[in-house]
Amino acid sequence: MVDNIGGSGSSNNEGIIKEQDRLLPIANVGRIMKQILPQNAKISKEAKETMQECVSEYISFVTSEASEKCRKERRKTVNGDDICWALATLGFDDYAEGMRRYLQRYRELEVDNNNQERGK
């Protein structure tokens, strides 16, 4: 159900919503790009849009590989380790190492948080 808040046509809105659903927000993507570039660098809107598309493709690409592994091992849930494995398999070894440490740290913090909650 789509609420037409001043919308011109529901079918158009649905199309736009679907388009936005499959991309990460351009503001977030643009911000990450900007942070890695020199201060005086400019980024065209088209470049940001292209990056949005590339990131979504990247997510799909890695997820497919991870989910294929789960299917072969008859597991239903794609977890963080599967993503790390897929990253390494697809040539993103540099990321995989860092990701494993990131994931480890995240899991430790989660346990810490849970313990703190119980301590209250």
Partner: protein, 127 residues
């Protein structure tokens, strides 16, 4: 008492601080993951979190490489062609080649079917 270190960003707001602990929206990442195929049924809570970091690294790397192309062209504005050139020049970005050359003609085309075909070929190569 555990020291806040490199990953204190997880708790204190990451790069921007405005979008919560992660600079990319986890719900959206999860949606995109689900769309990647029929096989993808259940996704653990940590998977989008790993991706939010991995996507940051991906964006940073592709942006850096694209910037090198722009600099060579004596420009200070990053254009979509710079991104395309960086993709073509980098082995691990092979999976993006069709996407960036496709984008040359049509801007907002839904490339879903084509992307699926490309991904299938990639998967076959690795199995």
């Amino acid at each position: 008492m555990r020291q806040a270190g490199a990953y204190s960003g997880i708790l204190c707001g990451g790069i921007s601080g405005r979008t919560g602990p992660h600079s990319l929206p986890l719900a959206r990442i999860k949606k995109i993951m689900k769309k990647s195929g029929e096989d993808v049924k259940m996704i653990s809570g940590e998977a989008p979190i790993v991706f939010s970091k991995a996507c940051e690294l991906f964006i940073e790397e592709l942006t850096r490489r694209s910037w090198i192309v722009a600099i060579h062209g004596k420009r200070r504005t990053l254009h979509k062609d710079d991104v395309a050139s960086a993709v073509v020049a980098t082995d691990i970005f092979d999976f993006l080649v069709t996407l960036v050359s496709h984008n040359h003609g049509c801007a907002l085309n839904n490339n879903a079917n084509n992307d699926g075909a490309v991904m299938e070929i990639q998967t076959l190569q690795y199995s």
